[in-house]
Symmetry: D2
Subunit: 207 residues, 4 copies
C-alpha cells in the first residue's frame, strides 16, 4: 500500500505545547515559553534535527493474553493520514529529552489507547528487536521518509478497554495469524507488518 | 551454606498420587491406578531416571513491579529441609509428560505461592537463562546432588497475595539489592543465589 | 508433507554404543558394558522413558553471516527417512545425562555438519524460543509422534565447510526469504518450518 | 571514583571532519563542506542537540570465548580523561545519521580496538539491555553529565589482536569474576560497572 504521507508519530504534536518536561520537573524549573525551554524543540528545530541525527522511538504492539500468558489477540490501530488514506499502525512515538524509555512507552500507550487500556509494561528493558527506519527505502525493512528513526519495540499486554484518542480511528483486535497475514501487512505503514511478525515470533505466536 | 539434603522440588510429591495427567485428560483416558498409567513415574522409577536422563524443570522468581513495569521487590521462599535446616529458594518444579511449559509454571507457582498470588506469566516462551544443575559441584554454578536437572527460569510478576503451601514456610519480599546480596545468596540452595542475580540482571534491576 | 516416521534424532543412535559419557569420564569411571553404565539408556529403556518424561533436546539452525553479523544464508539438512522419503530438517538431538547444553550442541553440530563446519556457538545460554514437541498434533506448533520433547533452539553461524554425516544427505544453503517460504516450510518435519521462522525473526531476517 | 570530565565518546571527534557519510554516499552526493552537509553536526550544534534530544549510542563489551562459546575473558579499556585521570570503560560511541546499528558498532569497535581485533558481531539485533544515561545522577544506574544518551549494548567476541587507537591506552583482559568485582566497577565511568555485570549475566558468566 503506498503511503504518501507517513506519519507514525502524531502523538508527538503535543510534545511542544504545554506538557511538563520530566527533566524540568525534576529540576523544579518552570516553563515560561517554548523558546526559553532548552529541552523542547520547535517544529522547525525538530525538522532540522530529523535530517541530521537518528531519532529515538519506542513502539508497542498491544496484545491480549490468556491466563497462562499466551498471546491470543493483537491490537492494530487504524489511522487516517492527512491525505485521507486509512492505514494500520502500532503504538509509536518519540522519546523526549530526560524521559525514561518506560515513561515514553507509557505516555504513548495512553495517548494511543486511552487512559483505560491498563497496559502491563514488561519488566525487561530489552526490546524484542531494534527497528531502524531510514528515509531511503531498501536500506532495512523499515522506512520513514521524514527521518532516520531507531525504534525499540515491545510486546505489551493490555488488560482494559482501548479508546483511541487523537487521530487513531480505532483499535482492531485480530488473531495472531491474521495480524501476520499478507493482506494486513500490506496495509501497515513503514514496514510495520514485518515488525508485527518479529514481535509475534518473540512470543511464539507466529506460525 | 551447606545443604545436605537439597530438595528444591517438593511440589512434585503430588505428581504421582492422583492428579490428572493433561495428556491422559486430552485422550479421554481414565486413570485406574498408577501402575497402569504409563505417563506417571513411581518414586523408584523417578529415582532411576534421575541418574540417567537430564530432568526438565521450570523455575520462577516472583517479583512485584510498579506501574511502569520496573521490578521493585523480589519474593524468596523460606523452606525447611527434611533435616530441619532453613534455606531460601525460588519457585521450582518438574515438567510432566504431556504438560506445556506454561502449565508447569502455573502449577508450580500455585503450589508454592497459593491460589491468590495471581501471577502474570510472560508472553515470551524463552527463559532469561538456562540453569544446568549437575550432581557434581563445580561443573556449573548450579548443583543438585539428586540429579542432572535443566531448568528454564522466568521472572514472574505476582499481583495478589502469596500464601505458601506445602513445605514453604513463607515468602519474604525484599529489594532487588538485598536479594542480590552476598548474605542472601549464601542462604540459597543449589546456587540459586546466582540464578536470582541473573534474573535481576535480565530486568535491569542488578547494580 | 506427511511424515510417517519422523526421526529428527538420528545422531542419538550413537549414544548407546561406546561413546564416553562425560560424567563417567569426570568421575574416572571405566565403561565395561552398556548394562553396567547407569548413565546410558538401552533402546528399550529409552522407548519407555520417552512415553513418561519430557525429553530434553537442543537444536541449531546453521547460518552464514556477513562481516557485520547479518544473516545472509540458512543451511537446511536434507534427510531420507527410513521410509525413503526426503524431508528437510535442522540440527537436532538429545542432551545426555551429565552433558552441558553447549557440549550437546557442539556434538550434534559435528555429527550433522561434519568436523570442518567450525560452528560459532553463541555466548548467550538462552535459546531464541522453547520448542515443545508433543506426540499429539495440535497441542503446539511442533509435533513428534515418538515422544514429548522440549527443545532449546539456537541460531549458529558456521564458518567452515559442511559435510553431513550419518543419514543427512546434504546441507542446502538458501536465502532467509526462501528458508521462511511456504514450500520449504511444508517440506520440514515436525513443524520445524515454524521454528526456522522464529529463529530468523530473532535475528531480524524475517520479512 | 569521581569522574569530573567523563568522555566516553572520543571516537566521535572524527565524526565531523571529513569522513564519508553513508547516507550521502548512498545518494552519490559530494561533500563540499561541513556547513553544506545537512547530515553533519558542528561541535556547537552537537552541544545544543545534546541538551534537547536523547542521543543514540551503541556500546560493546569485548570478550574472549572458548571453543563452545563460553565467555572466558572480558576486555576493558583503560583511558586517560582530559584531566589526566585514568578510568576504565568499554567500546562506546554515537550512531550517525543514516548509519545502521551494525555499521556503528563495527566502526566504534575498529576505532577503539584497532583493525586487527576481528570482532564477531552477533546475528541478533536486540541488545542485552538498554542503558539510559541521564545528566542528572540517580535517575538510572547510568550517568553522563554531557547529555541524555540511550545506549544499545552488545557482548562482542573478538578473535584477533587488540591495538587500541585514539585515547584508549590499553585493553586489559580479565576473568568475568574480576570484571564484575567491586574494585573494577568503581573504576568504570558513568555506571558502566553495572553495565558490565548485566552483560556478563546475559551470557551466564556472572556468579
Amino acid at each position: 500500500m503506498p503511503v504518501r504521507t507517513p506519519d507514525p508519530d502524531p502523538g508527538d504534536h503535543g510534545d511542544e505545547d504545554g506538557a511538563i518536561d520530566p527533566l524540568d520537573a525534576a529540576l523544579g524549573r518552570s516553563l515560561p515559553s517554548d523558546s526559553a525551554t532548552p529541552a523542547w524543540l520547535s517544529d522547525v528545530e525538530l525538522a532540522q534535527v530529523r535530517r541530521r541525527m537518528p531519532i529515538l522511538y519506542v513502539e508497542a504492539i498491544p496484545v491480549r493474553t490468556d491466563g497462562t500468558g499466551s498471546v491470543t489477540e493483537v491490537g492494530l490501530l487504524l489511522r487516517a493520514t492527512p491525505m485521507g488514506e486509512i492505514t494500520r499502525t502500532i503504538v509509536s512515538g518519540r522519546v523526549r529529552y530526560g524521559e525514561t524509555i518506560r515513561d515514553a512507552l507509557f505516555r504513548h500507550l495512553e495517548n494511543d489507547l486511552g487512559p483505560m487500556a491498563f497496559p502491563l509494561l514488561p519488566p525487561q528493558p530489552a526490546p524484542f528487536t531494534v527497528a531502524e527506519y531510514f528515509p531511503l527505502p531498501g536500506v532495512s525493512p523499515f522506512h520513514d521518509e521524514r527521518q532516520h528513526a531507531v525504534s525499540l519495540p515491545f510486546i505489551v499486554p493490555v488488560t482494559g478497554t482501548c479508546e483511541p484518542r487523537q487521530d487513531a480511528l480505532e483499535v482492531t483486535w485480530m488473531s495472531p495469524r491474521e495480524a501476520a497475514s499478507e493482506p494486513v501487512a500490506a496495509e501497515m505503514e513503514g514496514g510495520r507488518g514485518t515488525l508485527v511478525r518479529l514481535g509475534l515470533a518473540s512470543v511464539g505466536a507466529l506460525r
